[in-house]
């Protein structure tokens, strides 16, 4: 029978098929663990006297709470320190591999899996973190779970899961200069809404998706959750295989050949039926920014702040009024006129080496706007090392930015990297919720290119706003930043 990519991966993992409305029991290939959502799960195991069933399919890293300065000193925040120490104790007690602060493989969990070659096509991947959808970029079925489910996977390496619906999101055409995969996903979320993907696994396809690098694909799948989706997926292809080959945990020899043979079958059949379909034209896209307090409240940068009185739907109107009040924005203001205090470049959405390269290309040889604080936080220690090997750190420092150690950082402000009340940021992260980046902080979600241009001009800006002189010293296009994190 014809099947979609998601259905194929699901079917290959059914340990026990549910009957009478009971969910299927699915096997989990890879379980990623971090310090925030795991302590209570390990506590549950201990109370029940249960071991971790498969430590060899489990890997932990410290990311949400970790400071990005002074990482060789004791963590100043006592509760953060306790949580990280708890993970270290649990990993030692249960035999789980852990990459701690200061280790070269430490970093945001969704960067660490791919860079080690643990994330592969056709896997089921879970983590107690909603942005686990990132790993879907490889053609894995990857989704966030709650702490009870973390405990369930630790104890059984399986999860009982209710069936999902499938949605095809086809992005045709070619991205215009100055736009990135971040603009694609922000446009998709603005189109279908923060609840539009609920109950669905999204499959991104089409010419514009195929043309993206692995890292750009990760940005799209990462934000599937912001459309409410269970997961986002992209069928694996040569780009995927090329990224994986030679990574520390990638299959070798005959195993590699067998894997690639199987991975080539992981695509939706031509006659597969999706429960819903959405089509987007990439060549129509402009840089997108959010103006409100959920990721669906986004518009092209050339637009103006919406006027709530013009919104017909009552719920949406009230939500817009509340958002504008929180954001301190006047209806009708051109988005380009909004000044920001902080530019944050980082997170599991846009903190990878290609993101840092694209920012560096824009800011090289320039100075940031006086009034703006610029934070550059690589998604992992390896990304930081590579950026330094390429001299990007010097470019950022000369620009006036701060160059930090790896972690989730200001994306969610669990460490000291936070916005002050009323402070406004342009952020390459994934959520503009009230208080997300610090109590009272105001967040505009943007692409790395928009973040870079905004840091230069001080107001929300695209690269085009910088004028015709934005040609990187090597003369290559701004978006020509391909080349994965070194792994050979």
């Amino acid at each position: 029978m014809a099947g979609t990519l998601a259905e194929k991966v699901w079917d290959a993992h059914i340990v026990r098929r549910g009957t009478d409305g009971a969910p299927d029991l699915l096997y989990i290939d890879l379980h990623l663990v971090h310090e925030v959502t795991s302590p209570q799960a390990f506590e549950g195991l201990r109370l029940a006297g249960r071991p971790v069933r498969r430590p060899d399919l489990t890997i932990a890293t410290e990311d949400h709470n970790t400071p990005t300065l002074d990482i060789d000193r004791p963590i100043a925040d006592l509760t953060s320190r306790t949580q990280i120490q708890t993970l270290r104790n649990n990993a030692a007690e249960f035999g789980v591999r852990l990459h701690s602060l200061g280790d070269a493989d430490q970093g945001i969990v969704h960067q660490v899996g791919p860079q080690l070659g643990l994330t592969m096509p056709g896997l089921t991947v879970v983590c107690g973190d909603s942005h686990t959808s990132t790993h879907g970029a490889f053609g894995a079925l990857a989704f966030g779970i709650g702490t009870s489910e973390v405990e369930h996977v630790l104890a059984t390496q399986t999860l009982p899961l209710a069936p999902f619906k499938t949605m095809a999101i086809t992005v045709d055409g070619t991205l215009p200069p100055g736009t990135t995969s971040k603009d694609i996903i922000l446009a998709i979320i603005a189109k279908i809404g923060t609840g539009g993907g609920q109950g669905y696994v999204l499959e991104y396809r089409g010419e514009a998706i195929r043309a993206l690098s692995m890292e750009a694909r990760m940005t799209i799948c990462n934000m599937s959750i912001e459309a409410g989706a269970r997961a986002g997926m992209i069928a694996p292809d040569e780009t995927t295989f090329e990224y994986l080959k030679g990574r520390p945990h990638a299959p070798e020899g005959a195993d590699w050949d067998a894997a690639v043979d199987y991975w080539r079958t992981l695509r939706s059949d031509d006659d597969a039926v999706f429960d819903a379909e959405v089509v987007l034209e990439a060549s129509d896209l402009e840089p997108f920014v959010t103006w409100g307090t959920n990721p669906g409240q986004g518009l092209p940068l050339s637009a103006r702040v919406p006027v709530p009185a013009e919104i017909a739907d009552e719920n949406e109107r009230v939500a817009a009024e509340r958002a504008l009040e929180y954001m301190g924005l006047e209806p009708g203001t051109p988005l380009r006129d909004i000044p920001v205090d902080t530019v944050f470049i980082g997170s599991c959405t846009n903190g990878r080496i290609e993101d840092l390269r694209s920012v560096a290309k824009v800011v090289q040889g320039r100075r940031k706007a006086e009034s703006v604080r610029v934070l550059v936080v690589p998604s992992s220690a390896r990304v930081r090392l590579q950026a330094e090997a390429e001299g990007l750190d010097k470019i950022f420092l000369d620009f006036g930015a701060e160059w930090r150690n790896a972690g989730c950082s200001m994306c969610l402000g669990m460490n000291p990297d936070q916005l002050a009340p009323g402070e406004r940021s342009a952020s390459t992260s994934n959520r503009n919720f009230e208080g997300r980046q610090g109590k009272g902080g105001r967040t505009h979600l943007v692409s790395p290119l928009v973040a870079a241009a905004t840091a230069i001009r001080g107001t929300l800006s695209s690269v085009a706003d910088l004028g015709a002189d934005v040609v990187p010293p090597d003369g290559s296009p701004l978006t020509d930043v391909r080349g994965d994190l070194q792994h050979a």
Partner: protein
């Protein structure tokens, strides 16, 4: 897990849509390593506002939250469910729930009952007209009663059965351990293992330091 068949308690009208889990419990409270004691963290950012619904005497002791659509979106944090439960909520009624939140609720014995938005509006009216009105959520009959309003709600059959029986998920799954072991024997060799760990050569990571600024370059 405690069995849940019917619950009656004060209804709390929360006229907001898209209440994400960062609003239910801000990230700063996620640093705790315990499983209980999150009641002070529930809606922490809004609790400072004296007008906020839970700061009004009539609603303080509420145990049935009646919220706008798209409740529980965003972060997967299960702490959102713990905070609602620790505060005293037993059920949340909404026209639409985020998937992860709904799943987390079912595992913790918090009922996420899905109603039509127009029925939510009817209940909101009653609760706002007569603050302190009790709401009865009847899981056996899949009905909500509030004053003279009686409306149906949806919950999937499996979650309903588990809630009514008070069954623990891990225990249920481990009844099938032989099938899990058989499945494991059939997994292909290429599928990754995290152990033994493979690495690139270790490299020392240099700690970034705070930037000290002086004069014209000082940060505001």
């Amino acid at each position: 897990m405690e069995k849940f068949s019917q619950h009656t308690g004060v209804g709390v009208p929360l006229r907001r849509s898209n209440v994400d889990t960062d609003q239910i419990i801000p990230a700063v409270y996620l640093k705790r390593v315990t499983r209980t004691g999150f009641e002070d963290a529930l809606f922490a950012a809004w609790r400072g506002d004296p007008e906020f619904i839970l700061n009004q005497d009539a609603y303080k002791a509420g145990s049935v939250l009646v919220a706008g659509p798209d409740f529980g979106t965003g972060s997967s944090r299960e702490h959102a469910v713990w905070a609602l439960k620790d505060y005293g909520f037993r059920a949340v009624l909404s026209a639409r729930f985020a998937d992860i939140f709904r799943g987390n609720s079912g595992k913790q014995g918090l009922l996420a009952a899905q109603l039509a938005q127009e029925d939510i509006e009817l209940i909101w009216k009653v609760l706002e007209t007569v603050p302190g009105t009790e709401v009865t959520v009847d899981l056996a009959a899949k009905l909500v009663h509030c004053a003279d309003v009686t409306v149906p709600f949806q919950v999937d059959d499996y979650t309903r059965w588990r809630l009514m029986e008070g069954l623990d998920d891990i225990g249920l799954t481990l009844q099938h351990e032989a099938e899990i072991t058989a499945f494991e024997a059939s997994r292909e060799a290429w599928r990754p293992r995290t152990l033994p760990a493979k690495h690139l050569p270790p490299v020392e990571i240099v700690a970034a330091r705070p930037v000290v600024r002086t004069g014209d370059d000082a940060l505001v």
